[in-house]
């Protein structure tokens, strides 16, 4: 819809890495039985991906799906399709025990891009971000300083971060502070 505005309206900051809000992204929280064929098909139909393995994420051109817990997925679709996609899922899963909730507006999506992107995150997340331990294709739900968040690597030097919309400012300023030029760590 024309008057839909993302939390930070594409704010960005260039430190030793680029921090930018990605605008609106369609997201559906989907809970159900991963082993159920109907469920698997519904996921495939809506985002074109199979159900990912534990802590895995698969995204291709704006569509994809992330493993959030043994009975929860985060389905990614273009924002404009999110409402209909949520309804399609609900429809496809009628009769099975499942829950599809459109949370596209409840989130902020921020990208951190640059050679030292790993270090920007490692200042605020208690997670091993060494190349050996964290790679594209993996998703990690954790905290960024004082708030819950999830992130995955959307490229070699690029993180996509999902957090709650209400703390978009906080998370952005946090990442911005972490990325201030001169505070490179030279570790990761």
């Amino acid at each position: 819809m024309s008057n839909a505005v993302s939390a930070l309206n594409h704010a960005s900051y260039q430190g030793f890495a680029l921090v930018e809000e990605m605008g609106l992204q369609g997201m559906i929280t989907l809970r159900g039985d991963f082993a159920d064929a109907t469920f698997q098909k519904a996921v495939k139909d809506v985002c074109g991906q199979d159900i990912p393995g534990q802590r895995e994420v698969t995204v291709a051109d704006g569509k994809g799906v992330a493993w959030m817990s043994p009975d929860e997925l985060l389905v990614l679709v273009p924002y404009s399709d999110s409402a209909s996609a949520a309804m399609d899922l609900a429809e496809a899963l009628k009769g099975t025990h499942a829950l599809a909730a459109n949370v596209s507006d409840a989130r902020v999506v921020i990208r951190v891009k640059g050679e030292n992107a790993r270090e920007v995150i490692a200042k605020i997340a208690p997670v091993d971000l060494s190349v050996a331990s964290f790679q594209p294709g993996q998703i990690r739900r954790t905290r960024l300083a004082q708030v819950a968040a999830a992130f995955w690597m959307s490229g070699e030097d690029e993180f996509t971060i999902v957090a709650f919309r209400s703390v978009a400012d906080y998370v952005f300023n946090l990442l911005k502070t972490s990325a201030i030029k001169g505070s490179e760590v030279g570790y990761l």
Partner: protein, 1003 residues
């Protein structure tokens, strides 16, 4: 005098001059200097005053163990007290001042304490200052506080930045001396991911100063080669200026990196606190030399022998022209030799041991140094600077044999391994008789998550005194750590060093052995806190026998150096006084951090706007720009009221209430929790969560519900809407959303996991606006879209549809008693929807209203508020909410608890309305006072105010409260006590003050 030498100084770059000031005096040093070495180069030995007696204090050490040389550093927003000069890198423009004196360092009136020191023994303050009673607070305590303390308190807001960093390693090696370097090398060669941290700016530790030769090369060369090799390895991280601060459970170790202390204002973070998870930790933290206890050992110019050596060799600074070395071991001779080789005089080496032979002593003799065996220092002459020493027999009572003129004394009392990090997390120690020190007991190491040891030690930190031994234990520790971290230990052999044969040291705890009380009162153990041998002996005599008692009674080791120099000497004295062995006496507990770390580094990035998350609704910016006076609610900030030009908060609230009741008000209700509950068993689950019957709620309808915890207390409330056959939408309080969602998940996952129910917290998916007032329907109809007439959308129902082109979900619910629609739209369109309502509402007199207006309107209607009427001890029955408690249900959370005797007791205070007779507003939280006192002499009470406001609608004070038998006492007048002791009379009335029949909301 102390001065800069021309021919030595391996760490200073004489081509880079650095200007600084001390107490306003302009001074110069070189790049590579510490502030301490630069002060000494400028003959500034006197740098401060002691804590208790304000005695003159000089620099005694060259590292983190320094107890005396602390200064106020910097100015304004970068001012910092208690900076340790021995660990402060000199930089251009550094300014510092000495501490703990008035009016000046040279003349300090506080020194008066020194002249009556005899009347101020350990713990004297426990024995006096007791009468008259008031005198402690008003006379004695202020005096003591003034004379205590060290540096000044900072005044301005810190302008520097700080940050954290999370790292994960197989092996973390603390300490960049030769043992640490070799440990890191061995671990890295074994394939482990290794971090090596060194607190100073330079690698190699003491080995170069001590003239070690490794694999046939001078130490410096071996160190450079090893560092180069490590730098070349992918799996190794090297960090200098980074101290291992503390070791915590499960392999957690904090690293304190002083990134920019030496380059203030260059934009980098000043400190970075590393929070590292290590599979294994190797502490190669070296050792600290012990002072010797002789009369006057605290006079400026008396210094640790190793420090004297450091200053000469590392910084090219001589402590004095004539230095007397006093020792109980061979290592002390290294200092004597280094001094003479640097062209300085050593009139005498005073060695407490009766037999003195061996490589180092003989080399000293060959250099023409006079060595006196079996001797001791009986006293030190001088006030603010050593002028000479009196020599006596070690096994005597102190009778002077001769006097030696000197301007410096170098003490070598033996070495104590730095066992702090080993001990932080429970590592135990053993007493080493031959070296007379505590060292880590490898059999009782700290254990981690898997129950296995996770800390190893290496080098002198492990009591391996010789260079070869240190390298060997470093090598072994590195390999063992890598192995424990899951790698295959490398086969490479450890390097070898040229062996210098050293004879046994003699544990000498006081000098001379039979010194009388008069001398023992002049033998300092703790220089900063002024604790002397006589004080420890006094503590023992008075029964403070536990080492912790002694420490606390005398303050031994409680100064900012945490006893790094004094503890072992103090222990020995205590053990001797108790006729016990030192290991029986034991040590005090080692606690983090190893040396003090900045508070700011602990707080990290969390300052200013990112001190804490601040949650914002989609309308937050509009609210902020339209006169909002905010109140914090959880991490949200909600508008308490919107102030128009010149309005006070009270006036604004009054206006908002009147306007909403007469025309139209908008409330940003987005913070209210919204939780979806879905599944075949959702109805059953809802009936357990709520006291009401929710399973019978018809699709399309809304019902107000209550939630209790298992203790029966009311924990949250809100409107529940039935979305479809197996889906409910639960509204919670603003503070409640996450709590209630977690609460639901907890029961579903841990108690009723066989129930088919899913819940999802969609609070932030929607912006929610309460459109309230007589004109509410008009504005919605003007925007156009779905039918919002009473007929198609009656009170307590909900519907979905478009309004003004927005996809909405509309709830006909009212918390104000007015015609009211709560409308949810996708959060991304919340601001646009709000703007549309404001614009369309203009002709209907729309105004936004805040939380206080909300509170008043609900109070006028007698609605309860979680957090006002409830406080965690209130059950629904107290609030007359029995109608919301299903009698039909067998069970719901809190039901069993509410059956307990105290819950069913008829004497519980119950909710009623209250009206003051004079129309005034009852004070918030006032209690209703009854006749008589209870058994503890407290006045009896019969109730209290839970909510109280001035009602703009009724033009008088209204209140709710819980009163003993309240509902049965309608019309009765009771008294509420004010804090000033006076009383207010109020009448017990029905709690619904306005529109009792609820006609206005149901139009």
């Amino acid at each position: 005098m102390s001065t800069r030498l021309s021919n030595t100084g391996r760490l200073v770059n004489r081509s880079a001059v650095k200007n600084f000031t001390f107490n306003g005096k302009k001074m110069q040093g070189y790049e590579g200097d510490t502030l301490a070495s630069a002060l000494l180069a400028n003959d500034q030995m006197l740098v401060g005053r002691s804590f208790k007696y304000h005695r003159p204090r000089g620099i005694v050490a060259s590292g983190g163990e320094e107890p005396n040389a602390l200064v106020n550093m910097g100015e304004g927003a970068r001012f910092e007290p208690n900076q340790r000069t021995t660990t402060t890198e000199l930089f251009d423009g550094l300014t510092c001042t000495s501490q703990n004196h008035w009016p000046s360092l040279e003349f300090d009136v506080g020194v008066a304490n020194n002249y009556v020191a005899r009347f101020l023994p350990a713990g004297f303050y426990y024995k006096t200052f007791m009468a008259p009673r008031a005198a402690w607070k008003h006379v004695f305590e202020p005096i003591i506080r003034q004379s205590a303390g060290l540096g000044k308190a900072p005044k301005e807001m810190d302008v520097d930045r700080y940050e954290h960093f999370y790292a994960f390693e197989d092996v973390v090696v603390v300490g960049g001396g030769i043992a640490g370097l070799q440990a890191a090398k061995a671990a890295a060669d074994s394939g482990a991911q290794v971090m090596l941290m060194e607190q100073t700016t330079d690698w190699g530790g003491r080995a170069p100063v001590d003239g070690a030769v490794i694999d046939g090369k001078p130490a410096d060369q071996w160190i450079d080669e090893t560092v180069a090799a490590l730098e070349a390895m992918e799996n190794v991280t090297l960090r200098t200026r980074m101290m291992g601060a503390g070791v915590y459970d499960h392999g957690y170790i904090t690293g304190y990196e002083r990134v920019a202390d030496h380059t203030p204002g260059d934009g980098r973070p000043r400190h970075r606190l590393w929070r590292i998870r290590a599979k294994q930790i190797v502490t190669a933290t070296g050792a600290i030399e012990r002072p010797l206890s002789f009369a006057g050992n605290d006079i400026p110019g008396v210094m640790l022998a190793s420090a004297v050596r450091d200053y000469v060799v590392n910084y090219g600074v001589s402590i004095g022209e004539k230095t007397v070395v006093v020792t109980n071991n061979d290592d002390g001779y290294r200092t004597a030799i280094a001094l003479v080789e640097a062209g300085l005089q050593v009139p005498m080496v005073v060695d407490a041991r009766s037999e003195v032979e061996g490589e180092l002593p003989n080399k000293a003799r060959d250099l023409g140094i006079r060595v006196e065996a079996g001797k001791a220092i009986g006293k030190v002459k001088g006030g603010k600077r050593v002028t000479g020493v009196g020599i006596c027999l070690q096994n005597g009572e102190g009778g002077a044999l001769e006097e030696v003129k000197c301007d410096a004394v170098a003490m070598a009392g033996g070495w104590s391994p730095v066992v702090h990090l080993w001990s932080h997390c429970g590592g135990k120690l053993i007493w080493d008789e031959t070296q007379a020190h505590f060292r880590p007991d490898a059999n009782r190491a700290p254990t981690g998550a898997n129950g296995e040891a996770f800390v190893l030690t290496a080098g002198i930190a492990n009591g391996d005194m010789g260079t070869t031994e240190a390298l060997a234990s470093g090598d072994a520790a590195g390999k063992a750590a890598a192995k424990a971290a899951g790698h295959k230990a490398s086969r490479k052999a450890a390097p070898k060093a040229d062996v210098v044969a050293e004879n046994a040291m003699a544990p000498v705890w006081i000098m001379p052995q039979n010194a009388g009380p008069d001398l023992r009162m002049k033998m300092w153990l703790d220089y900063q806190n002024d604790v002397k041998v006589s004080d420890v002996q006094l503590a023992a005599r008075e029964g403070y026998e536990s080492v912790e008692h002694t420490k606390r009674y005398t303050t031994l080791g409680m100064a900012t150096d945490q006893g790094k120099l004094s503890n072992i000497n103090g222990l020995a004295i205590l053990a001797d006084s108790l006729n016990a062995e030192i290991p029986q006496v034991g040590t005090t507990t080692f606690r983090p951090p190893y040396t003090p770390i900045s508070m700011a580094s602990i707080a990290g990035e969390a300052r200013g706007e990112i001190f804490q998350p601040l949650r914002k609704t989609p309308m937050h910016d509009w609210i902020e720009n339209n006169g909002a006076h905010f109140e914090p609610v959880g991490h949200w900030r909600r508008p308490y009221a919107y102030l128009q030009d010149g309005e006070t908060v009270e006036e604004a609230v009054k206006r908002e209430v009147k306007n909403t009741r007469r025309k139209l008000g908008l409330l940003d209700a987005s913070t209210l929790g919204k939780i979806i509950v879905k599944g075949p068993d959702a109805g059953k689950f809802m009936d357990m969560m709520y006291t009401n019957m929710m399973s019978t709620l018809k699709v399309g309808k809304c019902r107000y519900g209550l939630m209790c915890n298992e203790n029966g207390f009311l924990s949250d409330d809100g409107v529940v809407a039935r979305m479809d056959e197996d889906t409910w939408l639960c509204h919670t309080t603003s503070g409640g959303a996450d709590r209630i969602h977690g609460w639901m998940e907890e029961w579903l996952q841990t108690e009723w996991w066989d129930w088919d129910v899913y819940v999802a917290n969609v609070t932030e998916q929607y912006a929610q606006v309460a459109v309230v007032g007589p004109n509410a329907r008009k504005v919605l109809e003007k925007l156009g879209g779905m039918d919002v007439t009473k007929g198609s959308l009656p009170f307590m129902e909900w519907a979905e549809g478009q309004i003004g082109g927005f996809d909405t979900r509309v709830f006909r619910i009212s918390f104000s008693g007015e015609l009211s629609y709560e409308i949810a739209v996708p959060a991304s369109q919340g601001r646009a929807f709000w703007d549309a309502l404001m614009e369309a509402g203009e002709e209907f007199g729309v105004q936004p209203y805040g939380t206080e207006c909300l509170h008043i309107m609900r109070a006028e209607k007698g609605f309860i508020m979680i957090g006002d009427e409830t406080d965690g001890t209130i059950i629904p029955q107290d609030l007359g909410l029995n109608w919301a408690i299903s009698k039909k249900k067998e069970d719901f959370l809190g039901k069993r608890a509410q059956e307990r005797t105290f819950m069913t007791n008829p004497d519980r205070w119950k909710l009623v309305g209250l009206e003051t007779l004079d129309g005034s507003v009852l004070p918030d939280g006032a209690y209703a006072i009854k006749e008589g006192d209870n058994d503890n002499g407290q006045r009896n009470m019969e109730g209290r105010v839970t909510s109280t406001y001035h009602s703009p609608t009724l033009g008088r004070g209204i209140a709710m409260g819980i009163i003993h038998n309240g509902p049965d006492r309608m019309g009765e007048v009771i008294e509420f006590g004010k804090v000033d002791g006076t009383m207010v009379k109020a009448k017990i009335v029905d709690q619904v003050f306005f529109d009792k029949n609820g006609e206005k909301q149901d139009v």
